[in-house]
């Protein structure tokens, strides 16, 4: 123990339980008397795809050559009931993010980029903007508890319908948009007074439960003459039962968002403490579909912490048909870029740490409604960046798939993977590397 006069910084010891972040939050709560609301997804570490490794080619398994030997990446979503399923060129889609949460040019960029590489974007908790429909060749229209902006004309203009039961960041919570982001245009689209702190309902207004969801899906199909695929989006919680229930309710595809999934605004406690990680969620969902004999017939789209082609490939290997990106797309467009370091410092943050998407002061012009800030964001450049990033995700996934001898990324399978940790092995149900041990699974030879 140092004496009272000693100033040796090396003897200072931070508490694990009460570290600086926790101290700052407790003191903020004491000052403000309200919970911490922020954007971004879970920041704490949970088991993820990084804890899995591909086995790759060997004497017993041969790789495919790059370039010459095809590794296909196309995926069709909505084959179960829809007259016009979605045909995507790559197994990566852009997740639902609202106009309101994002600026108009940011939404436009997502549409441009996705269309360039042949994939879809998704509307969010605010409705469909004309720009979005114009710039996105394939557009999925979300039906959320709030029903902001919901109307039959837009429903008919959409290429697919996504009924949102929940999202990974806040399963059981509704949307949130704080007053500084409720601009005139947002207010008009959402039929709200300008400048209020908007909180959406957490349940749908006209159905509760899978038995009534079935009837609701029926209504949406009737209204759109059975043309469009109907997806059901869930935050990962009781995933095994949820997948079965979504299937029984009549979904064409299931969108499953792990707890790491991002949000534009919600309570920090929700983000960090509710839902299961994407890793176990994918495996559970895939197994549930296999049990029902509907794997690949009811498609599985997985999101929540997809960052690299390795994440894409691993999610597909565990049984997903496609993945969806949200946070990564915003980062690709410039969120948290070191170029903005000075700007972040002015608003009390730093590049690489910025998560105040709820505040609407984004210097990158992405998660803001401020005209001046939004004007900084160039939608054509943003579109190029998205297209580039999506290409890299695809190329990386193909590289890994080829190394495992696959001519289509969908031929990746759990047996191509091993785990680095006991948790990941148990969650993904693949063996701990170098062993034949899968924790929790009996009868191993």
């Amino acid at each position: 123990m140092a004496t009272m006069d000693t100033h040796d910084p090396w003897s200072l010891r931070e508490s694990y339980l009460y570290d600086r972040t926790v101290i700052a939050e407790i003191q903020r709560a004491a000052r403000e008397g309200i919970y911490d609301i922020r954007g971004f997804g879970a920041k704490r570490r949970v088991p993820h795809f990084d804890d899995l490794l591909f086995l790759g080619a060997s004497i017993s398994r041969y790789p495919l050559e790059g370039y010459r030997e095809r590794c296909d990446t196309n995926v069709t979503l909505g084959t179960r009931f829809a007259k016009k399923p979605l045909e995507l060129k790559i197994p990566v889609t852009i997740a639902g993010m609202s106009f309101g949460a994002l600026s108009a040019p940011a939404k436009e960029a997502l549409g441009r980029g996705a269309s360039e590489v042949g994939t879809s974007t998704t509307t969010g908790d605010g409705g469909m903007t004309p720009e979005e429909r114009e710039h996105s060749k394939i557009l999925v229209y979300q039906v959320l508890p709030s029903r902001y902006g919901m109307n039959p004309d837009d429903l008919r203009k959409a290429d697919a319908i996504e009924i949102v039961v929940g999202q990974g960041a806040k399963p059981g919570g509704g949307g949130m948009l704080l007053g500084h982001k409720i601009s005139d245009r947002v207010a008009e689209m959402r039929n709200l007074p300008r400048g209020i702190d908007q909180r959406s309902a957490s349940r749908h207004p006209d159905w509760t439960g899978p038995d009534d969801l079935e009837i609701k899906i029926g209504e949406l199909r009737e209204i759109t003459d059975w043309e469009k695929p109907v997806f059901v989006k869930i935050g990962a919680t009781r995933t095994y039962y949820d997948v079965q229930l979504a299937v029984k309710a009549g979904a064409d595809a299931i969108v499953l968002d792990g707890m790491q999934g991002g949000t534009a605004a919600t309570q920090d406690v929700f983000i960090e403490h509710v839902g299961i990680p994407t890793l176990p969620a994918v495996r559970i969902a895939s197994d549930a579909l296999q049990e029902l004999g509907l794997h690949r017939q009811v498609q599985l789209i997985v999101s929540g912490g997809i960052r690299t082609g390795a994440d894409v490939a691993k999610a597909l290997a565990l049984g997903a048909d496609a993945v969806s990106i949200g946070t990564a797309a915003l980062i690709a467009m410039g969120d948290n870029s070191p170029e903005l370091e000075e700007e972040y410092a002015k608003i009390g943050s730093a590049a690489g740490f910025y998560d105040d998407w709820q505040a609407g002061r984004d210097p990158a012009g992405i998660s803001t409604q401020d005209d001046e800030l939004a004007a900084r964001f160039d939608p054509l450049l943003g579109g190029r960046r998205i297209a580039n990033y999506l290409r890299v995700l695809t190329l990386e996934a193909q590289t890994l798939a080829r190394a495992c001898g696959k001519s289509h990324v969908h031929n990746l399978e759990p047996e191509d993977l091993v785990a680095l940790t006991v948790e990941a092995a148990a969650m993904a149900r693949v063996p701990l590397a170098g062993t034949s041990w899968i924790p929790g699974v009996d009868n191993q030879s």
């Binding site: 004491a30 000052r31 403000e32 008397g33 309200i34 609301i37 709030s146 029903r147 919901m150 109307n151 039959p152 004309d153 429903l155 704080l178 007053g179 039929n191 709200l192 007074p193 400048g195 209020i196 702190d197 309902a201 207004p205 006209d206 159905w207 009534d212 009837i215 609701k216 029926g218 209504e219 009737e222 209204i223 759109t224 003459d225 059975w226």
Partner: protein
């Protein structure tokens, strides 16, 4: 016009759901969108509680349904006038954008849910969550409404000639609620407001549109948002 033409304009297309699949009926109604040629007047028999009857219409049609319907009758209605000679299940005229939907009997919960425009008239009672999350629709209920009616109601007018159940207008935004009978309990941020001349005029207009001519606007009370929940309250205890 000729006799034949006159007959055509008043001809009613009759569809019996006991023998015609619902999909066929709805498709035929949808095909009349955008001014396409076809019958303007429809009569639908034997609904027997079927769901999504006459949903997604986008044309100035006159549709009469003889009997009780299930969920989501006239869901997302545009321009059409749909009349139900019976009771309706949950989600009647949900998300209606324009046009008129009239029910002779009772409506189950979430009647007019998230409706954006047009008029919904229920001659009997509407159950819980009538006008939930409404975004511009006008709803007139001759009887009573159940609990959580007008919950998160954003814009539009809800008129209740009978009583209102608990938590009326909970978390209401700018919609206006008029009740003639008893209100068992007001929801969070919902308060009684003055019934001024412009409100009596508004009420009179709505009652007229609903075909109700035996009630006095002055006998109603007006309810709306206290606007205390519009923003989070942040202290600054340094």
């Amino acid at each position: 016009m000729s006799v034949a033409e006159a007959a055509e304009t008043t001809a009613v297309e009759v569809v019996d759901l006991a023998t015609t699949p619902l999909r066929e009926l709805n498709q035929r109604l949808h095909d009349l969108a955008g001014g396409a040629d076809g019958p303007r007047r429809w009569r639908i028999l034997t609904p027997n509680g079927a769901h999504a009857v006459a949903c997604g219409i986008d044309a100035e049609l006159d549709v009469v349904i003889e009997g009780h319907v299930g969920y989501y009758c006239a869901g997302m209605n545009q321009l059409a006038t749909v009349r139900v000679h019976g009771n309706a299940g949950p989600g009647l005229a949900e998300n209606i954008t324009s046009g008129t939907v009239v029910v002779d009997g009772n409506a189950s919960q979430s009647a007019g849910a998230t409706g954006r425009g047009g008029l919904l008239v229920v001659h009997g009672d509407a159950a819980a969550r009538c006008g939930i999350s409404m975004k511009g629709v006008d709803i007139v209920v001759r009887g009573s409404v159940g609990h959580l009616s007008g919950f998160m109601a954003q814009t539009g007018r809800l008129v209740v000639c009978g009583d209102a159940g608990e938590a009326l207008g909970d978390s209401i935004y700018e919609a206006r609620v008029y009740v003639r009978g008893e209100v068992s309990e007001l929801g969070a941020d919902c308060v009684e407001k003055d019934l001024r001349a412009e409100h009596r005029a508004e009420l009179a207009e709505l009652l007229l549109q609903a075909g109700i001519d035996d009630l006095e606007p002055s006998d109603f009370r007006r309810y709306g948002s206290a606007r205390r929940l519009y923003n989070f309250h942040v202290d600054n205890a340094y």
